[in-house]
């Protein structure tokens, strides 16, 4: 049991150390490019998980906030030149803050009743933002989009700064999830997800925690959007506000396992690779769409709980069987219940999550 408890932080340190070392291993540009996109989706899935997985309020509009982030950076570049190339990274936190401020009123209205209403309002928001991106030509450039000056990084290590920033964002997102799960906030979110009426009854401040989770979640998503715009060098409405982004994030979270720290990241790493494969091997976007929809349906129908919870369940069963076979020695906690949190874990993730604050 103790060994298992220590495994979390150790795993995180190894995971991030490997990821941080990857770019210095002389990888080809297309590999790094793929890793950048994988990290983007890992951050966004982790962020979606905060509200969609932990609170049980499935947002279908996260792509709108990705687009808002992308357009914010795009519009910022219309008024600012480029010097060292690092300024866009510095404004990312403000981009996230702006998106959270846009999202809070919408969420405050739509989160009052039930998750169906929330899902519908968020998906409607997605299409409204998309239409606005096409129509507000003076601001967004309409269908022509906005172009952004290329980052003045040397071509040999062009992806490196983006990669590093994404790694930090991923650490923040995972750290926040990890921290939330071990705090009262996570407990409140779990109560909301299990039975909101009862949660209200026992005095959980449901609206507050729901809004907090949503604001953090869309803020992170918008930051990824802003970074994406800078990385790609253009913002077209059909790519910046794309329902497929929402679908990808949700699918990754469900595949890996919602409500867990590692699930969304695992899902992103599996699916982004699959996505690249489909996109290249199936060519035209139509077959790609069919393949994607089929993968989605298979995951939902055959593995609705996701990979990580299924594995956890299996491990728990094995432990229980072993405990039943051998007379109990030191471990007294009933294995079926979630174990109390280890405070000892200060390494790796703890340090990273300190940056983001809880």
């Amino acid at each position: 049991m103790n060994r298992l408890k220590r495994m979390g932080p150790t795993r995180a340190v190894v995971f991030f150390a490997v990821l941080a070392a990857l770019p210095s291993m002389n990888l080809a540009h297309w590999v790094l490019n793929m890793l950048v996109f994988t990290l983007m989706y890992a951050v966004m899935s982790s962020a979606w998980n905060l509200v969609g997985g932990m609170a049980g309020y499935p947002s279908l509009g996260h792509a709108a906030f990705f687009g808002i982030g992308a357009y914010t950076v795009g519009i910022w570049f219309q008024h600012h030149g480029i010097h060292s190339g690092y300024e866009p990274f510095l404004i990312l936190p403000f981009v996230g803050l702006a998106a959270a401020l846009v999202g809070i009123p919408v969420a405050a209205i739509s989160m009052r009743t039930r998750s169906d209403v929330f899902a519908i309002v968020t998906i409607t928001l997605l299409f409204v933002v998309q239409t606005l991106a096409f129509n507000l030509r003076s601001l967004t450039g309409g269908a022509q989009g906005l172009s952004i000056p290329a980052a003045p990084f040397s071509t040999a290590t062009y992806e490196r700064p983006f990669y590093d920033v994404l790694l930090v964002l991923l650490a923040v997102a995972m750290g926040l999830t990890w921290g939330a799960m071990r705090s009262k906030i996570g407990l409140s979110l779990a109560a909301v997800r299990a039975d909101e009426d009862k949660a209200v009854g026992i005095g959980v401040r449901v609206q507050g925690v729901k809004l907090l989770a949503f604001a953090v979640s869309v803020g992170l998503t918008a930051m990824v959007g802003g970074l994406w715009a800078y990385y790609e060098g253009f913002v077209y409405p059909q790519f910046a506000v794309d329902p497929l982004i929402t679908i990808a994030i949700v699918l990754m979270t469900f595949l890996g396992g919602r409500g867990t720290v590692w699930g969304p990241v695992l899902g992103a790493f599996i699916l982004e690779l699959a996505q690249q494969y489909f996109a290249y091997s199936l060519g035209g976007s139509q077959f790609y769409l069919i393949a994607y929809a089929l993968v989605f349906l298979v995951v939902m129908l055959l593995m609705p709980r996701g990979i990580v919870p299924s594995i956890q369940e299996r491990l728990r069963m094995r432990r229980r069987r072993r405990a039943a076979a051998a007379p109990p020695a030191e471990d007294s906690a009933p294995p079926g219940l979630p174990s109390p949190h280890p405070v000892t874990a200060a390494a790796g993730l703890g340090a990273a999550s300190g940056q983001g604050g809880h």
């Binding site: 209403v117 409607t124 409204v128 129509n135 976007s285 077959f287």
Partner: protein
Amino acid sequence: MHALVQGIILGILTAGVYALMASGQTLIFGIMKVVNLAQGAMVILAAYLSYQLFASFGIDPFLAIPITTAALFVVGVLVELLFLRPLRKEDRSELSLLVTFAVALLLEGIMSVVWSTNVRSINTTYADASWTVFGYQITLVRLWAFLLSLAALGGLYLLLNRTRFGRAVRASVQNPESARLLGVQASRISAIGFGIGAATAAAAGSVFGLLYPFNSGSHYDLISKLLSIVLLGGLGSIGGAVVGAGIISVSSAVVASTVSPIWSDMTFFIVLLLVLLVRPRGLFGASARGAI
């Protein structure tokens, strides 16, 4: 003033078609507590079917409606049997959102393979005919579409209120447990109910194809409008869907004709948020159990 009245006329005529699409969607929610995100894709599928029937056999889209409704009824029943029935009860409402989203993508993918992504329109001989009444233009196709939608809504009303099947549906919406105890087969009602929801999408879709050019991606525009209508009226309420369609179409058309078409797409979202601010469950949303 002229633009305002013209906008109201256009809005009311358009509202009929949207009311028909949305009534199917809200019926599905009432019976199964499933928000069908594939409703828009089913409308477009029906539009393509009537396009094909018109292009290949010269069948008028209005006359093609029996064929498209029958086809989409089968599609709806299949979707329910294959994708919704296997979901476990405890997370059905959450997963069904995502599953129907995936079904929408699947239909979109299939449609773009079969018909490519080029914009299609059904050009009948009467497509541009219109009457001018007191200086206001009324397109004939829109008027027919409106009347047809009213007729279809009337048919749906009769089906739900005058038949044995309708009684079973209403019973299982109001109280699923009691309905089951009294011998209503919930699974059969769900499958047929989903089929009927899809069939209303088909009737509306044939008309939609006449009114607007469309391609496989058009269902995205539709779905946000349909969902707003259903939510505005209150999930599960057919009367609410009709009223919601009226409010949203008229306000969008009025904003388009008096302010600018750019903001008309934004209008329904603002209207929706305002209504939800005052009535979180929509205008006619039942607080605890559904009512049709």
